[in-house]
Subunit: 398 residues, 2 copies
Amino acid sequence: MEILKNKAMEVAMKVKKLGQDDPRRIIHSIKVGVALTLVSLFYYWRPLYDGFGASGIWAVITVVVIFEFTVGATLSKGFNRGLGTLLAGGLGVGVDYLANLSGQKGEPFVLGVFVFLIAASATFSRFFPGIKARYDYGVLIFILTFSMVSVSAYRFDEFLTMAYQRLSTIVAGGAICIIICIVVCPVWAGETLHNLVTSNLDKLGDYLEGFGGEYFYCCDDEEQVTSIEKDKSFLQAYKAVLNSKSMEDSMANFARWEPKHGNFSFRHPWKHYLKIGSYARQCAYHIQALNTHLNFQPPNPSQFRTIIQAPCNTLSSESGKALKALATAMKTMSDPSPTSLVHLNAAKSAINDLKNCLKSATTQTPDEPSNLLAIIPDATVASILIEMVKSVEDLCEA
Amino acid sequence: MEILKNKAMEVAMKVKKLGQDDPRRIIHSIKVGVALTLVSLFYYWRPLYDGFGASGIWAVITVVVIFEFTVGATLSKGFNRGLGTLLAGGLGVGVDYLANLSGQKGEPFVLGVFVFLIAASATFSRFFPGIKARYDYGVLIFILTFSMVSVSAYRFDEFLTMAYQRLSTIVAGGAICIIICIVVCPVWAGETLHNLVTSNLDKLGDYLEGFGGEYFYCCDDEEQVTSIEKDKSFLQAYKAVLNSKSMEDSMANFARWEPKHGNFSFRHPWKHYLKIGSYARQCAYHIQALNTHLNFQPPNPSQFRTIIQAPCNTLSSESGKALKALATAMKTMSDPSPTSLVHLNAAKSAINDLKNCLKSATTQTPDEPSNLLAIIPDATVASILIEMVKSVEDLCEA
């Protein structure tokens, strides 16, 4: 009993957390509930039932199947479903007509052959990457409807009435879905994509801004340690960027279907986000390489490190600021050039400072024989930072 | 006309390429066709039709919806569908009984409230990551069946017969799917996962084996250039590893459902593959960092470069060999320790050589004042290679 209670508490906590993380989830659940209840009216309300007959069940199926979290996904599924059903219905009627010509005996064979051929080739078409990405569901519905139509046509003579009833209920179900999905607190895939990409840039910027302090902190006073310990979460946040590709791809796919919303027009250049996303991943890979260096701090920092510290710090924080300026510009949909270019130029001049430091460093310290080995980690960090600036530059151009 | 012909040729070429890349795709398409044709028998063959009635259509739906490319995916969907249908059916009957108690007038309201509550909470449950990964489809079917059952129960009194017919056709359709999927040239998700992970390791190994030659080649004779130019594909292959996470995750999810096949038992430790996969991605990130250095070759190689060339070459090729030995060991499912450890130790001793080189380098060349700047890229490469060996070591332990 006690265990059950604990278990229930645990689940309740999880539910609360999921809801708090993203309240749109709760709203979405309620929306699905409302849509389904509305659709049930097809059954409960007698005049409607008399009009549509048992086909009302198809409205229920449609709602359950096409109602997705984002508007774009719902529209895309609805479009796919409609197109697939229509095409398959037409083809099914055609095939049925052909099969009828072949007489009572031949009909099942002709139908069987057609079902086999069309199902096999449609299934194969799902392996095309282009179709897979956008019309996968439509092809599935196409196969489904085609086999249902050709198979039931063999039995039912009142076939056309049934087709009409079904189509109209599917349209009604789809319309209810789409209206509820768009009108009541819509979740736009485009907006989600936009936020995802900008927050990824922000995360990278945070990391870079913090990296200098983190890497060189052993050279600073010990007092600062506790305050730095507090918010190390930014050191982990960038990891989410590494595997963001599939999420971005699917969001961009859905966003294509969405009408104008907020600041986004119908044919917003969503592909651009994918490009920015891939540059951001490029940066994240560099950061990943930087991150491995955070863990092995040499016990006594070399003289070399103190020399490069200042320019490296500037380099890292300025490129971080450039990224964050970019993110802010994207958020407000303004021209990113001015602020981020300032930071980028600051980062570039830091590279030059760093190079000068390095040149002078060699001439200054010929008395340290084994320093080359000791400086390598630091030098690596510096060089990765330089690479990073190049990536950030790519980003700014995009 | 000419354009149409060209278009058709293009599509035909694409189809051929898709088929050649993976002949299992063609077989899969044929399997789906056969399954659907078999299921159509429910309709064409009179004795079966008399037994099952119009519910035969549910067998068709089941086949179209649960027949997936891999055995694991099909089993998982079939299980989800079965469980979802049963649970929802039971719950639907229960709710219907409750609703009946509330009289003729109250029934639709009670049903509506229940549909709303259950649909909303089930939809919400799909946001739980654990449920999302494994039972997403089951929950969908649950909502679908529940609303269908409770809604149709309101109209049909011969409800139980219908439920029985539907269940039996769904079971029959599912059984046909699963049997065809397993018996005829099965595509195992587990095997696919296994091959994916091993080929990823192979790709990384190829890259590392080739990297030394590629990076230091300007120091070698010019004659070799043409032969090296030929096969640079290995320099790109590793990029596939970077974004392999989502594919690996879904395959591992499906593999859990698969019975014993080939060398894999029922409860093969599939999670292990995910671990190896994430280490492999770690390596790939390092390689990504290395790869950026391939593009900027200094015009005249420094003396430093000639010093580190030999140990770096060994380092890179030995860690590559260690990875490939690991991949081979995984392919033959044997103990990876002996061969890969040999290479790993060789790589480690190369690190020591490199360190010694570096130490002696500093003492040998104090006469080159500005060399520190010039060596940084090389030093970075060396240090990334050292990191790489650590990652490879992690891999071997896994």
